[in-house]
Symmetry: C2
Subunit: 208 residues, 2 copies
DNA sequence: GTCTATAGTTCGATAGAC
DNA sequence: GTCTATCGAACTATAGAC
């Protein structure tokens, strides 16, 4: 009788795969991609090095899936923060603030996701996710322009520029382990100015 | 008598090295890093593939040097444009405008320099050059804040954010070969808003 | 799953400079 | 005659097609 993969076995395999990804996530948080050698990931997951290759055909595939999973959580958190606000400007601010403060809370991880030199396949994923963040911002900005809350501008261009701005502004502090205590409010102010929000519009949720 | 490399031979070797880099630059302009296979570079330079390895120990070293040389020219052009203006705001605008319009004139090259997924060693160089551009902007911004021409802000953070903003805003149009005819003025407007330049300050070179 | 195409790299042979 | 710069085929690995 041929070997058959029972549900119980399958579950154990899946759990092991999850465990490997989880171990990789911790290493990414602690030491970035530099710490994610297959050996280190396997050791942290409590499996043999070769076992990793039973779940992932190559290190490239592993790090790409790792990147997608971790950044996916950031996208979810940011999208959630956006949804939690009503005003158009408030949404953009919430995105900036959430993104930046989460990054500064996990500096090594954020640096790995944003800027650490790594396999070109991960680079390609970075481009994809930057577009995702851009699209998250472009909607509210377009509405704001339509309603006259914001001055005339190309919403997609402004959205892309803001994504690049926030990401790049964080790279410096993240790389140097700098304290940068004011970075988040500074970035929010930058964002408000860049959008062209009138100075008077003080309070969050103040607009349409 | 031992073989000695005469000046004539050395000159020929140097010329050949330059020729290889020149060929690589053309290929980068035409088809990005994707077009820069060693075989293609060698063919374009009119040398054998193996000869490339007499000048560069590996493809990585070749593309890193290529990147440095090409981006170095962009830095020079942008720095020159900055120097050509007197006003602090005018300098920042000149940097943005020069950078963006040059990029849009050589879209494939600009995409390769800014965003194309490539060897991590080139990624590391990208980080270095982004800092260079940031420092180019941070000076005038700091002066502008000091003089009260610009509202209070962290000059280095604003500078980094602008570098990221311009780069990221260009990636979309560059990747899609989009016309994006208004991209440059739009980016200039974004920059003016982000700096916090009062609406009234119309003309270039109008400030201190 | 094998086969093909193409990538980066290596190396023995050749031709020309010393 | 010796040494070396150059060549281009061969080697190894990998990705995609059938």
């Amino acid at each position: 009788m041929p070997y058959r993969r029972t549900p119980a076995i399958q579950a154990r395999i899946d759990a092991q795969r999850t465990g490997v990804l989880h171990a990789a996530t911790e290493l990414l948080r602690e030491r970035g991609y530099a710490g994610c050698s297959i050996t280190a990931v396997a050791a942290k997951a409590g499996v043999a090095t070769g076992t990793v290759y039973r779940h992932f055909p190559s290190k490239t595939e592993l790090v790409v899936e790792l990147f997608r999973a971790v950044v996916g959580r950031e996208v979810a958190a940011v999208a959630e923060a956006s949804r939690a606000h009503d005003g158009l400007v408030a949404r953009v601010i919430a995105v900036t603030e959430t993104f930046a403060s989460r990054a500064l809370k996990s500096p090594r991880l954020a640096y790995a996701l944003l800027a650490e030199p790594v396999d070109p396949a991960v680079e390609a994923e970075r481009l994809v996710f930057r577009r995702t963040f851009r699209d998250l911002l472009a909607g509210p900005i377009a509405e704001g322009v339509g309603l006259g809350v914001l001055p005339p501008q190309d919403p997609r261009l402004t959205a892309a520029a803001l994504v690049g701005a926030v990401a790049e502004a964080l790279v410096g502090p993240l790389a140097e382990g700098d304290a940068a205590p004011d970075a988040v409010p500074e970035l929010v102010n930058f964002t408000l100015r860049a959008l062209g929000v009138p100075e008077s519009s003080g309070g969050i949720d103040a607009d349409a």
